[in-house]
């Protein structure tokens, strides 16, 4: 019984939250990694693209809700999602046209593109706030829990509870599906291979008859889709606040880098690594140990480090991982 | 000068260099040939410290130099050129040469603040030496050109020129001839011979152009599938059945269609 309790505590406070958070980061990192791999720069505007995408999804969700449309036990936002993606893709394509294309034509140094993306970040940042405001919004309807603590306790009779939110399951599921789909797309379809070819050798892609502008458009559309999906799932799970989407950029980049920038598989692994190291390292093991070692009552919390240092710790872990895997988690074949 | 003992370098399961042992005698110009993918460049990279070996040892003048980083080997007198020219493209041709010598006072940051006079003297000396080298290589007219603007063959000359800025003991040349005009290649061959004769450099040369190998090298080492296949004089090698089958071939089959 006690082992069961220990397990439940662990699952409830460490495993499930970290997995969901990891999936959220992973989805964000996928977008960053894709743009890095194919368009060759770190897109600092990605966080704010996520915010913008989510903003449009929220507005559409409200519209749908006003019309009385819902998705049963699933959040209405899922119905709005495709339209949100379409709108975001339009905005992003417009940005490419107005900003990035110029530098591509000029063959400007890629760092200039990075800085241009900072400019875009500022503008989108403002745009999102003008669009939907600075407040916090919850737009999660439908069933919030697949399993909540009370039900679990009643079902199992254990003193410890376990909760699993539908958005958590959704996020993890979607992250994995999206990753597999992206992997399949890039490695098996002609367009995907064309994108990789462009990423590998722009000039030669041209000489093989690949239209580079088509590749770029496709990349942006997929990136916008990823951003909107990531942003919406994150928003559903937590809540939407424009400001937070800039903050999430940092862990997203960490995830993308440690996974090996430009590598979709790495993005996923990196996301989970960052999330688990944040949650697990600062976790006080007192209750788990308490269940496992009967009769032992530790005086402290058995916490390695305070949660204030969680981000710091996760970085140390990332560096250590890189030291032992000097080529990133997934080296070799990238996008 | 260089002794390689049972060297292995594997990439995953693939054995690019698979137990190669060879010696490069002091004062020789040793040729290294072999089919594409035989492991020649990999062997070079392991000797020059760019890649760590999977196993095996490399000795230079009896000293174990396995796995030493390239900059250390440089100071021991082991220089190399790259299969694909590695010039400093945004610097002028002369600067490309002047940066080579180690132990310049001006490379120590605080000396650049307090010892301007000394640095200027050293620079003048370096400039003189660089110009000498440029004369030797017949590219003096390119002194102030950006190295990035040179054509393929001129970059190869510059690669060679850098090895002349200091007193090297042994120089590894990786396919200096690929993509170089044949007339120019013969000039390069002459330059190599002169360095060998006049300055006593030892050379180890990878090349697919048999004329070039024949003119320069003795002995010639043939590699195939990561191992040494044969060693001998250029004439012997060119008659060796195994080498002909694996590497040299017997010429065009479609001769009859030529000029049709």
């Amino acid at each position: 019984m006690d082992i069961a309790n220990a397990l439940v505590v662990f699952l409830n406070f460490v495993f499930i939250p970290a997995a969901a958070y990891g999936a959220q980061l992973a989805l964000g990192a996928l977008g960053v990694t894709l743009v890095y791999g194919i368009l060759r720069f770190s897109n600092f505007a990605h966080g704010d693209t996520m915010a913008f995408g989510t903003g449009t999804v929220i507005l559409l969700t409200w519209g749908l809700q006003a019309m009385g449309i819902s998705a049963g036990p699933l959040p209405t936002a899922l119905i709005a999602l495709p339209f949100g993606i379409a709108l975001t893709a339009l905005l992003v394509l417009g940005t490419d046209r107005a900003v990035y294309r110029f530098y591509r034509k000029q063959k400007a140094a890629p760092i200039i593109l990075v800085m241009a993306s900072v400019g875009v970040m500022f503008v989108m940042n403002g745009l999102t706030r003008v669009l939907i405001g600075v407040d916090e919004y919850r737009f999660d309807d439908g069933a919030r829990f697949i399993m909540d603590v009370r039900t679990f306790r009643e079902m199992t009779g254990l003193p410890e509870g376990l909760a699993l939110r539908s958005t958590q399951a959704l996020t993890v599921g979607v992250a994995l599906v999206v990753m597999v789909a992206l992997f399949w797309f890039l490695n098996r379809t002609k367009s995907g291979k064309a994108m990789r070819a462009y990423s590998d050798n722009e000039d030669l892609a041209l000489l093989s008859g690949i239209d580079p502008e088509r590749v770029v458009r496709l990349t942006w559309i997929i990136a916008a889709g990823l951003a909107t999906i990531a942003g919406t799932l994150y928003g559903l799970d937590k809540s939407f606040k424009a400001f937070n989407y800039f903050q999430i950029l940092l862990p997203i980049f960490a995830a993308a880098i440690v996974g090996g920038l430009g590598n979709p598989l790495g993005a996923i692994a990196g996301g989970f690594l960052v999330a688990f190291s944040e949650v697990a390292v600062t976790y006080p093991w007192v209750r788990v140990v308490g269940y496992l070692v009967p009769g032992y009552e530790p005086s402290g919390l058995m916490q390695l480090l305070g949660t204030e240092y969680k981000f710091a710790v996760s970085f140390v872990i990332l560096i250590v991982v890189l030291l032992f895997r000097p080529t990133g988690l997934f080296r070799g074949k990238s996008v | 000068m260089i002794r390689v003992e049972d060297l292995h370098r594997h990439f995953g399961g693939f054995r690019a260099v698979d137990g190669a042992s060879l010696t490069i005698e002091t004062g020789s110009i040793t040729g290294l040939i072999g089919p594409n993918g035989a492991g020649k460049s990999t062997l070079f990279n392991v000797i020059a410290g760019v890649l760590p070996p999977t196993s095996g040892r490399v000795f230079m003048d009896g000293e174990d130099i396995t796995g030493l980083p390239p900059h250390t080997l440089f100071h021991k007198g082991l220089l190399r050129t790259f299969q694909m020219a590695h010039e400093f493209s945004s610097m002028t041709v002369r600067e490309n040469l002047m940066m080579v010598p180690g132990a310049q006072a001006g490379e120590t940051i605080w000396k650049t603040w307090f010892q301007r006079g000394r640095i200027e003297r050293e620079e003048a000396e370096l400039r003189r030496k660089a110009d000498e080298v440029l004369d030797f290589l017949t590219i003096r007219h390119l002194t102030h050109e950006k190295a990035g603007n040179l054509s393929g063959g001129q970059k190869k000359l510059l690669e060679l020129g850098r090895t002349m800025m200091v007193d090297a003991k042994i120089v590894f040349l990786d396919e200096v001839g690929a993509g170089v005009n044949r007339t120019l290649l013969m000039t390069i061959a002459d330059a190599i011979l002169r360095l060998n004769r006049e300055r006593g450099y030892t050379f180890c040369v990878i090349e697919h152009d048999m004329d070039f190998i024949g003119k320069l090298c003795d002995p010639v080492i043939v590699m195939a599938e990561g191992k040494v296949l044969a060693t001998g004089s250029a004439q012997d090698i060119m008659k060796n059945e195994a080498v002909i089958e694996a590497y040299l071939g017997t010429g065009l089959k479609n001769k009859d269609m030529v000029g049709a």
Partner: protein, 374 residues
């Protein structure tokens, strides 16, 4: 004369959602006074706003510098967050001799700062709130809590003063740990808090920041069911974010019971904004105090009117509520005394900060309900 007052608040940055209601509160008071035409021979009052960003001391300093040097404001309502407030006070306001009244900087450090008599605040020091919160908990018979605070001078100051007071009263704090605002995820924090346990969780954070994130994650994992909310958390967002999920949780924020607050809420509604927004009422009071002090001292020069602020804010005199500023100006013009009560029952103590009366609130049927005042 056209009198300009500066409003320096964090319109962008982590607390950007609080700022507009505060600004509107301050402007409401100025408009009221302007419209009355009774201030210093019919002077008008205009507001000049500046963005203090709340976290960037340099930007805040530059903003206040601009307000004073270029706009020529005679007083400043602001700053918003304690750190930024201290920086602009020490570097700019003191140097130029301009009065600053902050509606919301609650750090205890501001009580003892050397301010040349220029700094006031209409919110109480967190040293006091900690005491009040401890009292509320003791009265409810709760003896063991976990505390999480937003990692800044406000959160830490409040958490520490609360811990001291609560332990003094015999309670125990199982853990007192920080959370950073604006993080993407609070699972780790909540896991740690849950492991430490406690009957309730004290969330000394901001409702539209990490505070909500922590509450959300706690609810989702079933870590805590009852929460204790100090001022940074008591806001409408609490109802809309959580509603009945946090049924039975309680807290307190600086606010006085009674007609002043009601009057203010009505005025705000009429003016089209949310008067219950955190520190909105304090901002109204801050502006009103400056203007009344000007009238009292007969001058818009901060060097002169700074000394009248304590005077108008405290007894003796006729009590003044929001919406009665015209009346107050009349009294002053007649040479009478006023005791400004305003929207938050202003009572200045010590070096010029609100003594602080708090209302105790509780979530009942998903709504914030006032259950008493302290």
């Amino acid at each position: 004369e056209e009198i300009k007052l500066g409003i320096s608040l964090g319109f962008t940055g982590p607390l950007e959602s609080m700022a507009p209601d505060m600004q509107q509160g301050a402007e409401l008071a100025m408009k009221e006074v302007s419209d009355s035409g009774l201030l210093l021979d019919g002077s008008t009052v205009t507001a000049v706003t500046g963005d203090s960003t709340c976290i960037d001391a340099a930007a805040a300093t530059a903003t206040v510098e601009r307000l004073i040097a270029s706009e020529g404001v005679k007083g400043i309502i602001g700053g918003m967050c304690s750190g930024e407030t201290i920086a602009s006070l020490e570097n700019v306001a003191k140097a130029n001799g301009v009065v600053m009244i902050s509606p919301s900087a609650t750090s205890p450090a501001l009580s003892t700062i050397e301010d040349d008599g220029l700094f006031f605040r209409t919110s109480p020091s967190d040293a006091r709130q900690g005491q009040v919160m401890a009292d509320i908990l003791s009265d409810r018979g709760i003896t063991s809590v976990a505390v999480t605070y937003t990692n800044n001078d406000y959160g830490k100051g409040l958490a520490d003063s609360f811990q001291a007071a609560f332990e003094e009263a015999g309670g125990s704090v199982t853990v007192n740990s920080a959370h950073d605002d604006g993080k993407a995820d609070y699972s780790a924090e909540v896991a740690a808090l849950a492991a430490a346990g406690g009957e309730a969780l004290v969330v000394a954070g901001y409702v539209d920041q990490g505070g909500s994130g922590v509450v959300r994650a706690s609810l989702d994992t079933g870590a805590f069911e009852t929460f204790v909310f100090p001022d940074g958390m008591v806001g409408n967002a609490l109802e809309s974010n959580f509603g009945s999920e946090i049924e039975g949780s309680f807290g307190q924020n600086p606010a006085a019971e009674g007609p002043g607050r009601d009057a203010y809420l009505a005025m705000a509604e009429e003016a089209g904004f949310d008067g219950t927004g955190a520190f909105s009422a304090e901002a109204y009071d801050a502006a009103a105090l400056i203007l009344l002090a000007m009238a009292k001292s007969g001058s818009s020069d901060p060097a002169t009117y700074k000394d009248s602020i304590m005077d108008v804010s405290n007894a003796p005199g006729e009590e003044i509520l929001p919406g009665q500023l015209a009346r107050a100006l009349e009294i002053i013009a007649e040479g009478g005394d006023v005791d400004y009560v305003g929207a938050t029952a202003v009572e200045m103590v010590g070096g010029g900060e609100s003594a602080g009366s708090y209302r105790e609130v509780q979530i009942t049927d998903g709504k914030l309900e006032v259950v008493g005042y302290r």
